[in-house]
């Protein structure tokens, strides 16, 4: 019944005022029928399956392909990773790797004090943890602050608003490696920034030799590269705030700062929570751009956990897959916790 009704409406839409059939429709109709053919062929077996297993179980049939995909590409690698983390030795195949129980985890957690990486057996891992925590904290604060300011400004009626929205989003489209290389050219000894500093009579600054500067630029470059995405989320939130609230505030002659504090921020808070949690997850996962920008240096001042995992598994002569897998699992647990927080925040937002 519905099919016939759709057909009628399509005909009405396609036919011109004089009732002539446009040329495109002549091609499109048989083509559509041709494309629909395999789907129609599926119709009969699907109906048969529905009769056999019942209508209630049919959703699982439709979920099965996706579940199989996730199983092979997500859950199976997680299981393999877990198994790697309880084995040792340099062999690649699980069948050739000796079982070591929780040995890799024990080695990873062998610490005098978790607050002092130097007291840990695997100090590079704990330096990575400390650096990642520091990086994430600064990055999230800066990311939220800059994204919020940018979103508020881009939500105002300013000239060339569309252009500026595109400009702030543009870095998101760049590959992290490209972002890092561009900034490296700017920040290196003979880079653009030092050229500007010396032309103004200043002394060259070796940004990648000083731990403070290196961390500062790692955070700033990350904020620059990803801010556009978070700005977009906040901008969407700002546009969803009913205009009549602002009109009422204007009628009451409420000061701007008070409007921002009492209307904008509370109404935007659910989006802010999403931004904070997503930026947290992204911060913990950081690797590529910092790796290319600073190489984890100076010393280990910007060595992140993911870089530690990568180097332990692939860069050393003995490719210590077991230890790297154990560190991955620890990182995975942290990320899982953050993801749960994000889900909880999203749910609260929905209600």
């Amino acid at each position: 019944m519905s099919g016939r009704r759709d057909g009628v409406s399509t005909d009405a839409a396609q036919n011109g005022p004089a009732g002539t059939v446009p040329a495109a429709a002549i091609v499109a109709r048989p083509l559509g029928a041709l494309i629909a053919l395999p789907l129609r062929l599926l119709d009969a077996p699907m109906r048969a399956l529905q009769r056999t297993i019942g209508e209630r179980r049919m959703p699982y049939v439709f979920l099965a392909p996706n579940a199989a995909f996730f199983g092979v590409f997500v859950f199976l690698p997680i299981a393999i990773n877990l198994w790697f983390s309880v084995t040792g030795g340099p062999a690649l195949f699980l069948s050739e790797r000796p079982y070591v129980g929780a040995g890799q985890y024990g080695y990873l957690f062998e610490c005098g004090s978790f607050l002092d990486p130097n007291s840990c057996r695997e100090d590079h891992f704990w330096r990575g943890v400390a650096n990642t925590a520091k990086f994430t904290l600064f990055q999230v604060v800066a990311m939220v602050a800059f994204s919020l300011i940018t979103a508020v400004v881009l939500n105002m009626k300013i000239r060339a608003r569309g252009f500026f929205r595109a400009v702030y989003f543009f870095p998101v489209l760049l590959s992290p490696v490209v972002v890092a290389l561009i900034w490296k050219w700017i920040l290196q000894r003979d880079g653009l920034l030092n050229a500007a500093i010396t032309s103004l009579g200043g002394q060259k600054i070796l940004f990648f030799v000083d731990p403070g500067w290196a961390m500062f630029w790692a955070v700033l470059v990350s904020v620059w590269a990803h801010m556009g995405f978070y700005t977009l989320i906040l901008l969407a939130g700002l546009q969803a705030i009913p205009a009549d609230l602002y009109e009422a505030a204007e009628m009451d002659a409420t000061p701007r700062w008070r409007v921002f504090r009492r209307i904008t921020l509370p109404m935007l808070w659910p989006n802010m929570v999403v931004v904070i949690v997503l930026a947290l997850i992204k911060g913990v996962q950081t690797f590529d751009e910092v790796f290319v920008l600073t190489g984890g240096g100076p010393g280990t001042a910007t060595l992140m956990v993911v870089q530690y995992i990568y180097e332990t598994a692939f860069s050393n002569q003995v490719q210590n897959f077991g230890l790297a897998a154990a560190a991955s699992c620890v990182l995975g647990v942290v990320l899982f916790g953050l993801t749960l927080a994000q889900l909880a925040a999203s749910r609260r937002r929905a209600t």
Partner: protein
């Protein structure tokens, strides 16, 4: 009928053309380059294919061989590969001996280096040949010395004398790097062996931190403190990452650059006549004036399904005439005893490059036996990586030298224990 006959003839002619192509064996060679050697190899392979229509070699040129160990561990990977970590990958190498036309030729010309490609206990296999023998050693910007009006130290000068001279030159010319030293454990051991490091204990196990080693480490630390070495190389990255100073040397920012013979081809091309550069003999320490040998080998891979064809390709490339051309065009020190004795005619090299090649060739005789032993040690990269990673931290002030020594010993022991887990 005529039509059918013509069609049959056409089909036969097509089959005749296609069959040899079908019978062709395709081999893959993974190759990384320091200079122009990839182009030279591509050229030589074309020549090989023109003489051996049944073999096609696909040359996969890669920036570094970082993924090769994982490929090989998984039983995949190429049929042949150019490798720098010979000892570490020895267990994946193919013994070409049963397939070679004349194994005696290989033994006569490549014998000392074959040991570097063998697993411990193996004294007879022939996995491949040296595409280059490298020697560590310093390059000097002679023009900066002339501009500063300071005489270059002589060929028997010590590291400390060079440090003093380069610092003076840098002060007078404004060069930022008096000594630029590759961030590499391999290069560090050239200094350490000259300072009397012994590397191994009586049982042949690595016992890296000794008085000679400490002398070298202290020199590195002092040079960083006094500005002779910049933290931009050793201090700017984490872990065992390599950092060279090619750009700094090319831009006349480094007075002396401690690297190795593999850079000659690149400097010949990139520096051009911008300034005069020379290779100088390795500076001396209290023990000797030795550098470190090294190099890269082109080897067959055990997992290949075509060992005989791999051996044919390598037999051709390792033959004296071809390998001589390869060394000459790539500006490499020969890793072939016959050619080392005869000398290679580097026709395409500039006078500066020829002079540098002569210096490095002469350095071979000064190599300490310990340098050869360390290069041939299967787990040498474990030692190199631990040393560079921890001394890098000491240079930036993250750890004291004493802490670094302790960590180096622990790291080496832990990695070797991990490797031995079966």
């Amino acid at each position: 009928m005529k039509m059918i006959a013509k069609a049959l003839l056409l089909a036969l002619a097509l089959a005749a053309g296609v069959c040899p192509a079908l019978a062709q064996t395709s081999l893959r060679m993974t190759w990384y380059s320091d200079g122009n050697e990839g182009e030279v190899m591509a050229d030589l392979l074309k020549r090989f294919e023109s003489k051996n229509a049944d073999i096609k070699v696909v040359l996969d040129q890669v920036p570094v061989n970082e993924t090769l160990p994982v490929q090989l561990a998984s039983g995949q990977g190429p049929d042949m590969a150019r490798v720098g970590d010979m000892g570490g990958l020895a267990r994946y190498m193919l013994d070409l001996r049963p397939y070679l036309k004349n194994a005696a030729y290989w033994e006569a010309n490549y014998a000392p280096f074959l040991a570097w490609m063998r697993v411990p206990g193996d004294t007879s296999s022939i996995p491949g040949f040296m595409t280059q023998l490298t020697l560590t050693g310093p390059f000097v910007n002679k023009t900066l010395f002339e501009q500063a009006g300071i005489a270059m130290p002589d060929s028997k000068a010590t590291w400390q004398e060079w440090a003093k001279a380069t610092k003076e030159v840098a002060a007078k010319t404004g060069a930022a790097f008096p000594i630029a030293f590759d961030r590499s454990g391999h290069r560090f051991f050239a200094l350490a062996i000259s300072q009397g490091a012994t590397v191994f204990n009586a049982a042949g196990e690595p016992a890296v931190v000794d008085e000679g080693f400490k002398r070298a480490a202290q020199l590195i630390a002092e040079w960083h403190k006094s500005g002779i070495m910049s933290k931009e190389l050793w201090g700017s990255v984490a872990g065992s990452a390599y950092r060279g100073a090619n750009e700094e040397f090319k831009n006349a920012q480094a007075v002396m650059y401690m690297s190795g013979s593999w850079q000659i081809g690149q400097f010949d091309k990139t520096v051009g006549d911008a300034f005069d550069w020379v290779a100088v003999p390795t500076p001396c320490g209290p023990a000797n004036c030795s550098g470190m040998p090294g190099g890269a080998a082109l080897v067959g891979i055990k997992a290949t399904r075509h060992p005989a064809e791999v051996a044919r390709v390598l037999d051709y490339l390792a033959s004296e005439e071809i390998v001589a051309e390869f060394y000459a065009r790539s500006l490499f020190v020969p890793g072939h005893l016959g050619l080392a004795a005869k000398g290679v005619d580097y026709k395409t090299a500039s006078p500066q490059a020829k002079a540098a090649l002569k210096v490095f060739s002469d350095e071979v005789s000064k190599l300490d036996p310990l340098a050869y032993r360390l290069q041939g040690y299967t787990s040498n990269r474990i030692v190199f990586n631990a040393v560079i990673s921890r001394l890098g931290q000491a240079v930036t002030g993250e750890a004291t030298l004493d802490e670094a020594y302790g960590r180096i010993t622990q790291d080496i022991a832990q990695q070797i224990a991990e490797r031995n887990k079966k």
